[in-house]
Symmetry: C2
Subunit: 338 residues, 2 copies
């Protein structure tokens, strides 16, 4: 198999701020894997929170190339070789695994979701409102409602959290999820929780630093029925049993799991442990989102709006209906370069 | 899809006795599922320990027929409908799910193991020695060694357990696994364990009744490094987390899980919880064994010898090399009626 990668700049439609940073553009790595007359596509969204960059992802892909072999179907063995021979680079691994799934689907003439026994219909996705002023948040919420979204995810940790959530409730009754991206303390959570319940917040994502398990354990008594979902603290299968001891659910992103297969493993382990499952994303094009959307029908919560936050999406093929991402019937991941 | 089933009698090459019963023949249900010019095959091995009979399996299949729909790829939704609308009949469900996998593979022109990202190579299977006299056990062990098996599984719970294991060790140094099929008490286990360690027994399967968790918990301190594997106490995904609290591994049989997909879910959950995984079987033809063998490469222990215990196997297509079942490269399950 022949492997080519390139760094692509994705431009955000609006400045995107979360508890720890703010950005107007983001960089992903596009991957093309050629095999026997077919091209498989994959996309890496490396993230500095996990010490990954487009450069480290591309370097990893170069090192991975000679380990892939010549059979895109041989996924379990390929992944075992990569995990054994190379240091972890989850986003790059996910790009490679997505491209292999794309090739397998194209070889079979079937969409990936169908080969997984799943469906093209996915639960409604949330639309993410980055941290902004109260007025900016009102504008963003109004636009999301007008665009047909059925769920909002509000990034918090910026000081005006409560005022922004109150403002959103003046605009819409849509379900609201809150994501603190590790930005809260237990004192923050304690002060906010009664208000979040009053404002009918549906869930809270990653309130504390991934390593601060004590704060999560403190929150278990305070949360009063609002599920706590772990994102930054959830990467691979061995994390799942640990999370079951301190939270209620996990957010799977392929850029963390390293691909569809590990995400599936984690979904099944989560179900065995009574955990809820969210599938999330980074700032990604339709290519990256298409890979995650293949398994979205198995999840309780879908947060696959990365491609809807950017302008000039380099890939097309995903639909949007009734507030949900709709997968294509085309073979493989079902997206193609524009 | 058009569904036809028939009861088949499988004749055992030798009387097969375990702790709770003895038999010379067994009955399975063969299923043919016709769709768009292709035929998918599946086999149910209903077991009275779980209140299932060939009649109850065939009746369930009749009731399932109108719920299948017309797309064999739509596995997740089909299984959800079956689980919602019908009472549980795991063996029949497994037959139907195997036939659907067979159809999907044939439609794609690919073996099922390949569509699952796996390999046709499986770990060596154990060969099962039913309960017999000491002399009979020696003969059986010698025949198994001569036939090229690399592992023995010895059914115990018959009174001469220790003498039979000693006798086997006069014939061979092959790894020996022991299966009590719920036949022991804690006192039995306590008396036997030092001897089993001396005789280098590799694992102990289902020593106590499935519901007798207290005895399993007692055994945790006595077992001295010999893994305890749960069979009769392990059916579907919700059992896995419970088993992790009282044993070291689980034995997946499709006749209990209701099919390949649930077995895969359970493998991933087991891995997340640090459990070892065995894939086992009932008395089955090559058709039933082929379905289970598709996922054997993911397992630590393989016990897929059901088709090797019978005469006049109605299906062919499975190979045997280096003590292991070898899957076919033919599309679907890779077996065909003789």
């Amino acid at each position: 198999m022949e492997l080519r990668s390139q760094t692509r700049t994705l431009t955000l439609a609006q400045t995107f701020a979360i508890a720890r940073d703010s950005r107007d553009v983001d960089h992903v790595v596009g991957l093309e894997l050629r095999h026997d007359g077919l091209v498989g596509h994959g996309e890496a969204s490396p993230y500095d929170r996990y010490s990954e960059t487009p450069e480290s992802a591309r370097e990893w892909l170069e090192r991975a190339a000679p380990l892939i072999g010549d059979d895109p179907f041989d996924l379990e063995a390929i992944e075992a070789r990569l995990d054994r021979e190379l240091p972890p680079q989850a986003a790059a691994r996910a790009a490679l695994e997505a491209a292999l799934h794309d090739l397998v689907g194209k070889r079979c003439g079937q969409p990936t979701w169908k080969l997984l026994g799943l469906t093209s219909r996915t639960p409604a996705t949330s639309f993410t409102l980055g941290i902004d002023s109260v007025e900016g948040t009102i504008d963003r919420a109004r636009s999301a409602v007008e665009a047909g979204f059925r769920l909002l995810k509000v990034k918090v940790g910026g000081g005006e959290d409560l005022a922004r959530l109150e403002a959103i409730r003046t605009v819409t009754d849509l379900p609201v999820r809150v994501d603190a991206n590790e930005g809260w303390t237990v004192a923050d959570a304690r002060a906010l929780l009664p208000e979040l319940r009053r404002l009918r917040v549906e869930l809270i994502e990653q309130p504390f630093h991934a390593d601060d398990i004590d704060s999560f354990l403190n929150l278990r008594e305070l949360r009063g029925g609002i599920p706590i979902v772990v994102d930054e603290g959830c990467h691979r299968l061995p994390d799942v049993a640990r999370i079951a001891r301190y939270a209620d659910g996990l957010n799977l992103k392929l850029a963390k799991t390293g691909g569809i297969r590990e995400a599936l493993r984690m979904i099944h382990a989560a179900r065995a442990l009574g955990l809820r499952v969210m599938v999330g994303c980074m700032i990604e094009s339709s290519l990256g989102i298409a890979a995650a959307a293949q398994i979205a029908s198995l999840c309780d919560y879908v947060d696959l709006d990365g491609h809807l936050l950017i302008t000039g999406d380099p890939f097309s093929g995903l639909g949007f209906a009734d507030g949900a991402v709709v997968l294509s019937d085309a073979p493989g991941l079902g997206v193609a370069p524009r």
